[in-house]
Amino acid sequence: MSNQAFMNQPISDWMRGTGLDSDIVISSRIRVARNLHGIPFPLLATTQQSADSMERLMEVGQSSELSKLGPFETVKMAELNEMERQVLVEKHLISPNLANESRNGGLILSKDESISIMVNEEDHLRIQCLYPGLQIHKAWEAASHIDDIFESKIDYAFDEKRGYLTSCPTNVGTGIRASVMVHLPALVLTSQINRILQAVHQVGLAVRGLYGEGSEAIGNLFQISNQITLGQSEEEIMENLYGVVKQIIEHERAAREQLQQGSMTKLTDRICRSYGILKHAAIMDSKEAAQRLSDIRLGSDLQLLKEVSPVMLNELMVMTQPGFLQHIYNKPMNADDRDIYRARLIRETLAKGTAKSKENSHENQRIHQEEDQDG
């Protein structure tokens, strides 16, 4: 068993909160790329150089200025086993690149896991702030504040003309990647999604799957983020993204409305069918799980499935990933084993939800009875 705090629960504390439009927007994330002045970027640094930069940056991670924001822990990638690193990736706290390919990689993680700072990823420093719902501006405020703390202690690679200098030319300038994760089942069901994603591309934003660059959009989850980092201010970048996401939310709401009015029976059938399968299946591969969980998330949003809560779904989303699954049952599994344990985990979790909602309805009945007596 691992004694790392982040292994204890599938969803970070910050994910338990709700933000604006959280029926459609799962989370908002800001990532800021920064580098040390005069030291080769991690890719070209010697092992000694990267060890030195890690030490310098981890020191800031343990500074009193940073701990004013709350408790942080610092972890070196080398201290973690493969499963622990994979869980961090599945929780979106580090990138696959940091987990698998970094030399002298490190992580500075806040206790509620809303702030994760990667050391020696592609850039020396990558500050990441996560918020539930649509809260890009808030996430940027937090990231910018942490950026200032680091800058007060180390010299950044910065150029008047080019801005913050980064390893990859796609990040130079502000070094910012702002992204919003949205759940768009109705736009997919009504076949409007391609038209909308095309429009998103045209305004210079990128659309990716759940796990970032190159990953497939599974479970109707999409990450929408800025592409341009040079020649636009942070505020412009965020306004642009915010405006586009707001429009997408409106379209998704309209599509949900359309489905409810035009084909309610078909929609209910789809949702309840998925719910039934998830509650009883003995084998569940990750793709089917993602699709069916998306269905019941929609059911929950539309108040069709009252016993399923968004928090439970967020938990399941992470728990059904390969790393976490092996962690929960505490054993290595091949793909076939995972499909069996995934089905079991989903069955058990949903059963708990049903039990809870029964309790609640008993509670409600009692209250009603008492009210009746009063009347």
């Binding site: 580098n35 002045h37 005069g38 030291i39 080769p40 970027f41 890719l43 070209l44 640094a45 010697t46 092992t47 390919e101 030399r103 592609e122 910018s144 950026d147 200032d148 800058e151 007060s152 010299d155 950044y156 690679a157 910065f158 150029d159 008047e160 003309k161 080019r162 801005g163 913050y164 200098l165 980064t166 390893s167 990859c168 030319p169 796609t170 130079v172 300038g173 502000t174 210079g204 660059e213 190159g214 341009i228 980092t229 040079l230 020649g231 636009q232 201010s233 942070e234 505020e235």
Partner: protein, 187 residues
């Protein structure tokens, strides 16, 4: 860090082999790693944003090199590129293959070739937005200092010695408040 095998290209693949407790580390460039075989399996099929970028960068060298650029290796060598970063040793050719800079000085070293690349990626070439608080102060002071020195030169040429003396005092004052001397040379 340069490739152990060829010593010419930067090592982009780092891996550790442990056999019977014997640990061996390898640091190879992509092409040497490919020659060594089986290493690249599962490593995102060789088509990443960086491959795509290097395609963009090679566009303005010769029309024929686009395909090579896309896959990171060129068998027929394009016109030799002499730009090289003295700080980390990365040449422009290596940069255009990797799609990544080696250090912050590369931006200065490759400046003559950078504008078209950045223009293609971002549609812009100049940063607007946040400036480091502490680093920014030094930057503003440096800019002011340059300005004052220019004025001083002018006033000396115009034989306005009173003005020159005033400017000289202000320059001294500014120089003492700036703890660290400017380390970014303007070319």
């Amino acid at each position: 860090m340069m490739c152990q095998q060829c010593g010419e290209k930067p090592a982009t693949l780092h891996f550790t082999k442990i056999i019977n407790g014997q640990k061996t580390e390898f640091h190879l460039c992509e092409s040497c790693a490919r020659e060594k075989g089986d290493i690249l399996q599962g490593a995102n099929d060789g088509f990443s944003i960086h491959n795509l970028l290097s395609g963009l960068m090679n566009l303005d060298q010769s029309s024929g090199s686009l395909h090579n650029g896309l896959y990171g290796f060129s068998t027929s060598k394009p016109a030799p590129e002499k730009l090289k970063c003295d700080h980390c040793g990365l040449s422009f050719e290596q940069f255009s293959k990797m799609g990544r800079f080696g250090c912050d000085e590369c931006y200065q070293a490759f400046r003559p070739r950078l504008d078209p690349i950045l223009k293609r990626v971002h549609g812009n070439v100049v940063h607007v937005g946040k400036i480091p608080k502490r680093g920014g102060v030094a930057m503003n002071q440096r800019r002011e200092l340059e300005d004052l020195r220019k004025k001083l030169q002018e006033s000396i040429e115009l034989e306005q010695f009173e003005v020159a003396a005033e400017l000289r005092d202000r320059i001294r004052e500014l120089e003492t408040t700036m703890k660290r001397p400017s380390d970014a040379e303007q070319a």
